[in-house]
């Protein structure tokens, strides 16, 4: 019975032209437009260097990582130069910002950076991401130093009572430069904000799985469709029929997502990074979140299928908009002013997962997003299950 229903659920999904358009064709078409539109913008903006200021206080002077990195990022000989930096006092930095001579300034307080900007734009976002990246790399260097010290003590290279931290730091940095340890270079070429657009595109594709989930539910519920009435009078368990339909929807969704990945990688030459298993895992979990969201909308709302489809599309597009699909600035604005929205927005979780996988070498943020998506999915499934359990029909 399970296989019988699963087979026909797959057939109906693959032959539904509207579904195929939204889940297969639309993301590919949108991706193509993104590629045409944003690649030109990025190319034209690549040469622009951002004016910033850094408050040259004791904390900054004592923080080798920030000092060295900003020197590298403002080096005239660096073809990927990102910033023009003025090292000033906090008062001077404020004045420069007021006069609009700089995009923003950074001040280190108790080793944690504070960024001050007056507007939200691409330059401000790049500045913010660069600083975030330095913080992340700093943690990596810190861990490497710990390891270096442990190994040095074990091998007798270092003496516990006479540690030369400058030497150790230099040794670690040399290792990173020799690529024994991978730390990403923060430069214009790596801070491609169009990548965010493609991440949100993948997020959108994952969440469009919600349409498939909603359709799967609709076709099996007696109060939603005529076919559902027929299914409900058959001697088959509702759970069996619904689960096999959902599985078929999920597989259809994953096939659509795979096509989008293949198209963006091979045709649009999008670089999602090198960690393929984790990229696939994020796609699978993201699709699960989309599917479960569709199930919840399908079971809770008492409306026809077209209305529900419209709601799934609207929710997805809103989520993607807030996570930066129509401009990366939005992601920054939400992160800064209402971070809770991105914490509960599955599109943002997926986008941020890809982002962290691409830019960070630690996986903490990636796994945080994976777990967030799983929790979101579980909540949606519980809502759907509770709603389904309550449904009994006196008459059909």
């Amino acid at each position: 019975m399970f296989i019988h229903n699963f087979k026909y659920a797959l057939k109906t999904l693959f032959r539904d032209k509207m579904l195929i358009f939204w889940t297969f064709a639309f993301p590919i078409i949108l991706g193509t437009f993104f590629n045409m539109a944003f690649s030109n913008i990025e190319n034209s903006e690549k040469l622009e260097i951002i004016d910033i200021a850094i408050v040259d206080n004791d904390e900054f002077q004592n923080n080798q990582l920030f000092k060295e990195t900003f020197i590298a990022l403002s080096d005239e000989e660096n073809e990927n130069k990102l910033f023009n930096i003025k090292y000033v006092t906090e008062e001077e930095a404020k004045q420069l910002l007021e006069k609009d001579e700089i995009t923003g300034y950074m001040i280190l307080e108790e080793d944690s950076p504070k960024i001050v900007v007056t507007t939200n734009g691409i330059d401000e976002t790049i500045f913010k991401y660069a600083v975030e990246e330095i913080v992340t790399n700093g943690k990596i260097v810190e861990n490497l130093m710990k390891k270096e010290i442990e190994q040095g003590l074990d091998s007798g290279t270092y003496n516990l009572y006479n540690l030369d931290y400058g030497k150790i730091y230099k040794s670690v940095l040399e290792k990173t430069q020799n690529q024994e340890v991978k730390i990403k270079n923060i430069s214009n070429s790596n801070l491609s904000y169009t990548m965010i657009e493609f991440y949100t595109l993948i997020a959108m594709s994952c969440l469009y799985g919600g349409i498939l989930g909603m359709v799967a539910i609709n076709k099996n519920l007696a109060n939603m469709s005529s076919n559902g009435k027929r299914v409900s009078v058959a001697p088959t368990s509702k759970g069996n029929v619904i689960f096999s339909s959902i599985l078929a929807s999920y597989i259809t969704q994953l096939i659509g997502l795979s096509l989008l990945f293949v198209y963006t990688i091979l045709v649009l030459k999008v670089d999602y990074g090198t960690n393929l298993p984790l990229i696939i895992l994020l796609g699978i979990v993201g699709s699960l979140a989309g599917l479960s969201m569709g199930l919840a909308i399908g079971t809770i709302l008492k409306a026809n299928e077209n209305v529900k489809t419209g709601i799934v599309i609207a929710v997805t597009m809103l989520g993607c908009f807030l996570s930066g699909m129509m401009g990366i600035t939005m992601k920054y604005i939400i992160d800064k002013n209402a971070p809770i929205i991105n914490k509960i927005n599955p599109a943002s979780m997926i986008t941020d997962g890809f982002y962290s996988l691409y830019y960070y070498d630690t996986l903490d943020r990636y796994y945080f997003n994976i777990i967030s998506l799983l929790i979101f999915s579980i909540i949606m499934v519980i809502i759907s299950y509770t709603s389904l359990r309550r449904q009994k029909f006196e008459s059909l």
Binding site: M1, H4, N5, Y8, K11, T12, R15, D16, K219, S225, S226, N227, K229, R230, V231, S232, V233, A234, P235, T236, S237, K238, V241, K392, L396
Partner: protein, 245 residues
């Protein structure tokens, strides 16, 4: 009946008023899908599907999708999906609504075959002539209440009229109509266009008396016939003639 009363459900077949088929599947696949919810054995299912297709006369349309079918063919597919698994008790909810006469005839023949094959059929309809053709026992329901039950003859006996005479006649004036109303046993006289309808409370040979009157008054008529009250008359009499929502 609880949702998991599978043994009982396996013996039921329901044909809903709304056509319930998958637009994405062909005629054969639709029947196979719904039949498969009851019959696991593939070979047996295949045989049942072929029989259902033959019963509703869709042999030439097996590979058609529902969108390619006419309203009548779609209704026949709807029936095939509901009865392919050979249920013992079949509920048919107005299966002939908005279908052409040929399809209606095919559907009624199919239902009679199912009945002859041993199935019990609960048939819901507003078409009384269909009831007279296929039903052994009838329940007249109005606003959820049972008004009357019985066979066709038993119900017809409930009618207050015993005979209806229809005459095709031109230019009948009010004077003649009043005179006909005063004839023995006449219940109601309706003259609409060139059709005169006279209903009688009693008797089965009122036709002769009416013909004699028409001859006496030298009124020419084209056609005249007598009939017993139909189920439609009974239905209208029991449920009232006022229009419903």
């Amino acid at each position: 009946m609880s949702p998991d009363a599978y043994e009982i459900k396996a013996k039921l077949g329901v044909v809903f008023q709304d056509v319930a088929v998958f637009e994405e599947l062909t005629v054969y696949e639709n029947i196979d899908y719904f039949c498969g919810l009851y019959i696991k054995d593939k070979e047996k299912r295949k045989q049942y599907i072929e029989e259902a297709i033959e019963l509703v006369g869709l042999e030439e349309f097996k590979k058609y999708h529902p969108k390619q079918l006419s309203g009548g063919l779609l209704r026949r597919l709807n029936i095939a999906c509901g009865i392919a698994h050979k249920p013992k008790l079949i509920f048919l909810d107005e299966p002939t609504v908005a279908v052409d006469p040929q399809s209606r005839n095919n559907i009624l023949n199919g239902i009679q075959k199912l009945r002859d094959g041993g199935a019990t059929i609960v048939y819901t309809t507003h078409y009384m002539e269909e009831v007279e053709i296929i039903c052994d026992r009838i329940i007249i329901l109005d606003k959820g209440k049972v008004l009357s039950t019985g066979t066709t003859d038993e119900l017809k006996e409930l009618a207050k009229i015993e005979e209806k005479v229809t005459v095709e006649v031109n230019d009948l004036n009010q004077k003649y109509l009043e005179a006909i109303r005063k004839l023995e046993n006449v219940d109601e006289v309706i003259y609409n266009g060139n059709i005169l309808l006279v209903t009688y409370k009693k008797g089965k040979n009122n036709l002769v008396e009416l013909i004699e009157y028409l001859k006496k008054e030298n009124i020419k008529y084209n056609k005249i016939y007598s009939e017993r009250p139909t189920l439609n008359d009974v239905f209208l009499e029991l449920t009232g003639k006022e229009l419903r929502d």
